[in-house]
């Protein structure tokens, strides 16, 4: 390890002391929360608490990033392949759970009830596919990037190039959503303008990933997982304790659901929270197609798959997928409870006799959110900036007593606003903001690294200059990382769509473009180069065509009428078309053209068994 510049992270001492180091870190974070609670009780202003929470956590991530800086190629791309299964699972958890999971999901469950559970199922079940079909085999191959595998298996740079195009499209869409999320949090909790806030979030992202590549991102992500899971659990445990006296929200969710149904009936709401296939246009067809696209997308997203390149062995890679899902599960089976307790709280608030005149006093938090962004809270169809505005809007519609339906909350604000909604002290709001930020930053780091690696390793090193010295490759990677990040921040500042839709599109793009080529590459020896190239182009082409045409139309203008949906399938499940087309084209074209060579068949045999040297050896210095 002569080339590693820092021995504190990534060295032998560090890996054997992981438990102790992260134990101290977790204790330190809890002590910090308590300190903030004390400061808050002493009368320190809310906005100062917000700055301290976000500033302190970002400084910690930056310190880890700086300590893990490296100029060693193996460390930069795959963290030296020494990350133990459990910690890789935790890092994957943070890599995976983004602003969509942390901020968006419980909000969507709140609005969509049962039908929002499609996201919960889709974003967990996909790991089964990762473990049984893809990850262990890619680990055996020993790639640095996903296009590396495509190029080796489908002989040549054409497959690699298409792989890079798909990777770029899905990861870029995904990273825009994360930067959007950091902007939303910074705007509300630091009180800065959204357009400025996205660039502030960007700075936080860059310090972690730029210096140390995969190694820095891995150890920061473990730290971010700890912050985000604590921040997610505390408010919902709090609500459960206040409402039911039992601090196990996942269990007490049953009681919350029973109360929601009773309150809905009492308030004359006919569409119940627990009714399946009835909310937001999710009929049974769209519900199941969404689950399919999200699950298959999970097993195709390069930033997730590349996490399994970092484990020491194939065996560890498999166990690591199981750990990943366990860590992810902790948040995902809490999200429906989060939504249920938040909805119960809101229904109780409405039942307490809410009028346009007294809402400002009973729920002042709504006005604060409406002031941060005018699309977040609408009452009687208008932005609810103050009592006067609400009274005027409701008078216009003839509403004297507010019902649940008159209050329209944006899905992206529900988790962040819940502490205020349930009357918790401001320190919990600060904690939730830090958690949301950790979720968005950790995913953005992984995504930017996936993009920069593909551009520097696959395009620059493999396709343009095979003789490039190591130092130049790593510098190119860092420059590209910054350029892509700035571009993503710019796109995010235009607010292209809501977080959950943008993320779901990324899943469909990955599923339609990469899944057939990855799976058949391992499981079907007859799959050949022509088939894979045609399949990827067709699958990705149909997916992106459907998405763009139904969302923006041929004129790229959202306002004008766009293409009709095919059989009513929502465009967040675009891969519903791309996936079958991709598979069909790949199989047919493969069968019509020459079978892969003897050498290639031996290569596939080798990928299928864990024993033996990893197949791709890189010159690392």
């Amino acid at each position: 390890m002569a080339n590693t510049t820092a021995t504190t992270a990534g060295g032998g001492d560090f890996t054997s002391n992981l438990g102790r180091i992260y134990g101290i870190y977790t204790g330190g974070f809890i002590a910090f929360i308590i300190l903030m609670a004390i400061l808050s009780a002493l009368g320190v202003e809310n906005v100062v608490i917000g700055y301290l929470f976000m500033g302190f956590t970002i400084v910690i991530y930056a310190v880890i990033g700086v300590l893990s800086r490296t100029m060693h190629v193996g460390e930069y791309y795959v963290a030296g392949r020494r990350v133990p299964a459990l910690y890789n699972g935790m890092a994957t958890g943070a890599d995976w759970m983004s602003a969509a999971s942390f901020i968006g999901m419980a909000g969507s469950l709140y609005l969509l009830g049962y039908d929002g559970l499609g996201f919960v199922l889709g974003w967990t079940g996909g790991y089964v596919l990762v473990a049984i079909l893809v990850a262990p085999y890619l680990r055996k191959f020993g790639a640095y990037t996903v296009p590396d595998f495509l190029s080796a298996r489908y002989g040549g740079n054409l497959a690699r190039l298409i792989g890079v195009v798909v990777l770029f499209s899905c990861s870029f869409t995904y990273v825009v959503a994360q930067i959007f999320g950091t902007g939303l949090i910074s705007a509300r909790f630091l009180g800065i303008d959204f357009n400025v806030a996205v660039y502030v979030g960007l700075a936080g992202i860059l310090v972690c990933s730029m210096l140390g590549g995969m190694r820095a991102v891995t150890w920061t992500q473990v730290a971010q997982y700890i912050v985000l899971i604590i921040a997610y659990l505390i408010p919902v445990i709090w609500m459960s304790t206040v409402k039911t006296g039992v601090p196990i929200p996942q269990l007490m969710q049953g009681q919350a659901l029973a109360n929601i149904t009773a309150l809905e009936t009492a308030q004359g709401i006919t569409l119940h929270h627990i009714t399946p296939f009835a909310h937001g246009g999710y009929d049974a067809k769209n519900y199941f197609l969404l689950i399919l696209c999200l699950m298959v997308g999970t097993a195709s997203l390069p930033h997730v798959l590349m996490r399994y390149f970092t484990t020491p062995s194939v065996r560890e890679a498999r166990v690591s997928v199981a750990w990943s899902l366990l860590f992810i599960f902790i948040l995902y089976f809490t999200a429906p409870a989060y939504a249920a307790f938040a909805k119960w709280t809101m229904l109780d608030l409405v039942a307490s006799g809410l009028t346009p005149e007294n809402i400002g006093e009973k729920a002042g938090w709504m006005m604060r959110w409406a002031a941060a962004d005018n699309t977040l809270v609408q009452i009687c169809g208008k932005t609810a900036t103050d009592t006067a505005a609400i009274v005027a809007a409701c008078a216009e519609k003839g509403v004297t007593a507010l019902s649940f339906a008159d209050i329209n909350l944006n899905a992206d604000m529900i988790v962040l606003a819940t502490p205020e909604m349930a009357g918790m002290p401001y320190v919990i709001s600060g904690l939730v903001a830090a958690g949301g930020l950790a979720a968005a930053l950790s995913t953005a780091d992984g995504l930017l690294l996936a993009i920069a690696n593909a551009l520097s390793h696959d395009i620059y090193y493999k396709m343009i200059d095979q003789n490039a010295p190591t130092s130049r490759r790593l510098i190119v990677s860092r420059i590209l990382l910054v350029l892509v990040a700035v571009l993503a921040a710019y796109v995010a500042s235009t607010k292209p769509s809501d977080i959950l839709s943008m993320v779901s599109w990324a899943f469909s793009l990955a599923a339609g473009g990469l899944f057939p080529a990855l799976v058949l590459g391992v499981w079907w020896k007859r799959a050949n180069s022509a088939g894979a190239v045609a399949g990827m182009i067709a699958g990705f082409g149909i997916t992106i065509f459907y998405l763009v045409m139904t969302q923006y139309g041929a004129d790229f203008d959202k306002a004008t009428p766009n293409m009709e949906l095919w059989w009513g399938v929502k465009n967040i499940s675009s891969a519903a078309f791309g996936l079958p087309v991709g598979f069909a084209v790949m199989i047919i074209v493969s069968l019509l053209t020459k079978a892969p060579s003897r050498d290639m068949q031996d290569f596939i045999e080798e990928i299928r068994v864990p024993r033996g040297k990893q197949m791709m050896e890189e010159k690392t210095a």
Binding site: V128, Q253, I291, L325, E605
Partner: protein, 84 residues
Amino acid sequence: MATPDRVSYWNKTKRLMFVMLGLWVFFGYVIHMFVEQLNTIVIFGFPLGFYMAAQGSLIAFVVMLFWFARRQNAIDEEHHVNEE
């Protein structure tokens, strides 16, 4: 190379993969197709169909993956293709 032992190794691996895939289809899709019937059963306030989508299937996925890692490692060792 395609020695008899390798063929039998791959057959066992494939069988395990299809068992997992079958369980995945069941917990990911089939059980949720009966959500309305399952919702008539209520436990601790949870309608069962809602419970399966919110928690039940998720627990099944986690357990399945740990079981799979163990089974596949056992197959590796039995056929002496595990990593040294």
